[in-house]
């Protein structure tokens, strides 16, 4: 699998993503500059975390109109795989590649800590090898991660099984106390209806290296690579 990690001005998790895909999982990985109009025949486009354009106006709002995003939108429309983490998730929502929006955390603080999330379904490329309802410890680092969508979209997300991850406690229970930002129904990650665009606030790419003593994020990458082989 060839992976393209997009670099926007203000991206700061692009190196983490490259280290995960290239060094941990042996994928051919290239960085793609946001002003370019070439996805370099990548199989997966990864939108990393950070503060694109300084989070001016709204997180992801200005990055959504970077030149490369039109290529990403066209790529996704043809079924290409796109994965956004943190600021990448915000950009995907602003681009309307994913439904909903990410609002300021309900407590107005920047959250930087390990939390627990669980996969709600194995019916997606990034959750196919995970065990449903089993807690994974994954870092979060965001000020605007409160997932919100209207009721009609929430119903769609549920009926189409698009809610991939929810915040939970260490035992896999979705509780108010385990919701770090006030997200609607503890939602931490979703996919689009066609299941080729994925977005999540937690950072699995920061939890793949044994030297960091947390490898709970590896399962997402293993799922992706295993299911990609089968596609």
């Amino acid at each position: 699998m060839k992976v393209g990690v997009i670099v926007f001005p203000g991206s700061n998790c692009d190196e983490d993503a490259v280290a995960a895909f290239r060094d941990q999982f042996g994928c051919e990985t290239v960085k793609l500059w946001h002003k370019d109009n070439d996805l370099q025949a990548c199989d997966l486009i990864f939108l990393p975390g950070g503060f694109s354009y300084g989070d001016y106006l709204r997180s992801g709002a200005i990055a959504r109109f970077s030149p490369i995003m039109q290529n990403v939108i066209d790529f996704a429309a043809k079924g290409g795989l796109v994965w956004g983490v943190c600021n990448g998730f915000q950009i995907l929502c602003e681009s309307q590649l994913l439904p909903g929006a990410l609002l300021h955390n309900d407590h107005q603080k920047f959250n930087c800590k390990n939390v627990f999330i669980k996969a709600n379904t194995t019916e997606s490329l990034i959750t196919s090898n995970l065990t449903v309802n089993t807690a994974l410890q994954i870092p979060i680092a965001h000020g605007e991660g409160r997932y919100y969508c209207d009721e009609a979209n929430l119903l769609k997300l549920k009926s189409n099984n698009q809610i991939l991850f929810t915040y939970c406690d260490a035992n896999g229970n979705e509780t108010d106390g385990s919701n770090p930002n006030g997200s609607l129904q503890n939602i931490a990650g979703i996919c689009n209806e066609k299941r080729n665009v994925f977005g999540m606030m937690p950072h699995p790419e920061r939890a793949v290296d044994t030297e960091l003593y947390n490898t709970d994020g590896r399962g997402l990458f293993q799922s992706l690579l295993a299911s990609f082989e089968l596609v």
């Binding site: 106006l57 109109f65 602003e94 929006a101 609002l103 300021h104 107005q108």
Partner: protein
């Protein structure tokens, strides 16, 4: 013709506005406990060139819909005046 637009972008009333809530809660600290329900949005001003008033309005409307406001979480209103 030159125009000046004044735009307000506000979070939807139904959504929790943590900034507004924090400011609301601080009102008693400055001796004004009767102030409540503070909501915080953005005020954006801009200058533009357009053929006429209608074209200026349309341009600002497009800017609001495409970039300045996210209609999932915000609403907008604006005025446009020739300068």
């Amino acid at each position: 013709m030159k125009f000046k637009a004044e735009i307000d972008v506000m979070p939807h009333a139904a959504l929790l506005d943590p900034q507004g809530k924090a400011v609301s809660n601080s009102m008693p600290n400055i001796g004004l406990p009767s102030i409540h329900d503070v909501r915080i949005g953005k005020h954006i001003s801009m200058e533009l060139t357009a053929d006429d008033d209608a074209a200026a309005h349309e341009m600002v409307e497009t800017a609001c819909k495409k970039l300045l406001a996210n209609l999932i979480m915000e609403s907008y209103s604006f005025t446009v005046k020739a300068v």
